[in-house]
Symmetry: C2
Subunit: 315 residues, 2 copies
């Protein structure tokens, strides 16, 4: 069997870790958002892939929500002493990953190949598949100008008011071969949209021509897990952005956003009453994943959920 999960960073990576626990080894194929990727000091940084790799290998920092647990900051301190920009924090251990990736990309390997190399080196059973080997860059149009994703997210701490989100290059980006293969696999049993930010993390994946169609034409169930709990994301600006885009920060709005793509929506127990306003099978379960046990429980629930929903194919 195999299962596809579309994921961004933190929240998505948590469910991915849970799924990787409860599924047979190698069954999980994670399609990762690369819209946040950028070059910093000449190094290719892939924030969502990195978070997935660190989370799935058990190296992720639990306190920080990004980067590695066992980390030091010597390079960063030296950069500061040289008077340089340090708004994007790069740990000394984290750097090694970026150096290896950048060197392999320069040698002509695709991001898919490099990511596969890294996840094997880190002992991860799940496939981590970049949505595309071509460049897609998420730009956030705000009341403070057009910001690259990392500028918006890290430098400006999501404070500017979002007017529009653009995925530059998405129309020319090709679905990566790994993702195509995952969707074509005869043993595919389900597709999941992880509880990542729908607008910043899942939409860029769906914006790669072909991926939306692959999901619209699915013959297996697709279930989304809502990132909202009480109208707010556990972490990150999902609720805030929905408000700024004039969309109510509700599970009903989320179900509407994913219409045609999903056959069921998992929402948090606290929001059980939202189910009434949603024209889709709704599955209710605690979605806060503070511990590995919570992650595995939610993963199991989502997995079992596929047996109670049926693909609702668009005509």
């Amino acid at each position: 069997m195999s299962v596809i999960a579309l994921s961004g960073g933190v929240g998505g990576a948590k469910l991915a870790l849970g799924l990787n626990h409860v599924l047979p080894p190698g069954a999980l194929k994670i399609v990762a958002n690369t819209g946040d990727d950028f070059y910093h000091y000449g190094l290719r940084i892939c924030p969502d892939i990195d978070t997935l790799l660190y989370t799935l290998s058990g190296l992720a920092s639990r306190e920080r929500g990004w980067g590695r647990d066992d980390e030091s900051w010597k390079m960063m301190e030296t950069l500061e002493s040289l008077g340089d920009d340090t708004w994007f924090r790069l740990g000394d251990a984290d750097l090694a990953l970026h150096l290896v990736r950048t060197q392999r990309l320069r040698r002509g390997e695709s991001l898919t190949q490099v990511t596969d190399y890294l996840r094997r080196r880190l002992g991860i059973a799940a496939d981590v598949l970049p949505m595309s080997d071509d460049s897609v860059r998420t730009f956030v149009h705000t009341d403070n100008g057009v910001l690259g994703f990392q500028e918006y997210f890290v430098r400006h701490r999501c404070e500017p008011v979002v007017q529009r989100i653009v995925f530059e290059g998405c129309e020319r980006a090709r679905v990566s071969a790994g993702v195509s293969r995952a969707f074509a696999s005869p043993d595919l049993e389900a597709i999941f949209l992880c509880p990542s930010n729908p607008y910043l993390s899942i939409d860029p994946i769906l914006a790669v021509p072909g991926i939306r169609t692959l999901i619209l034409k699915r013959s297996v169930p697709c279930i989304a897990v809502s990132p909202l709990i009480g109208g707010q994301a556990v972490k990150g600006p999902t609720g805030k952005i929905m408000g700024e885009l004039g969309i109510p920060a509700t599970n009903a709005a989320l179900a509407h956003h994913y219409r045609g793509l999903i056959d069921g929506l998992v929402i948090d127990t606290r929001d059980a009453s939202d189910a009434a306003g949603i024209d889709l099978p709704v599955l209710v379960h605690p979605t806060l994943m503070s511990t590995d046990l919570h992650k595995s429980r939610l993963a199991n629930f989502v997995r079992e959920g596929t047996s109670v929903v049926r693909p609702v194919l668009s005509s």
Copy 2:
């Protein structure tokens, strides 16, 4: 007044530090070898410039003979754990310098501009001038094949037998503007060839078309400090390489190598008897620079030596 010193790494940097001490602030203009430069993990590494920057700013490691004193190795350990090549050691603090340099070069700054930025940030009064902003790469032809300089020097620890040394790209390399200006300066009083390896560190500088001519046509005295003590370099393979190239590892051979370029040669007290076989003014002084006091003393001696030699111009 101003003074030019041609320098490679360790030995040359020690004299440069001494000169920087004894000369008026800003008088020293160091022309640095860039033949050892290479890209590693996409980062531009300039071993001799780095050694000069660290030595002149007091950051250099005294134990290691390369890199910084206050250093950590987290990135390197992580690289190792990812199964990657670690023959060239990059410290976490050292990395910051390479990242800043690489980013600025990518933005279109010249190596001269970047190096000037770095030496100012590090509080260095002396100018550190790359011999050229164009690429020159030192290759060592050995009984073990053709090796890039760092491969020969670091990976193979200078063990292969040297047959020939080639400075790839030197014929197309242009003298950097900073170096041209330094030689054209009306207050120039002297030129020094630091006690770096003549074949691996000084020759690449002289191979940049124009630099040799600038020195041949000098109107100020040029003095070389021999890197040999008792037929051996304090550090590095000068003696070994001379033997392998069929040249006796003597000060006489060195004087012959630099013929037309120098008006005097400083040799170590222990080798005073070598003076007899040298057809040039020979100045005798302890050349081992273990302490800052030794460096300053030798620098003062070399500086005063310029008053006892006269430029011997080639016809």
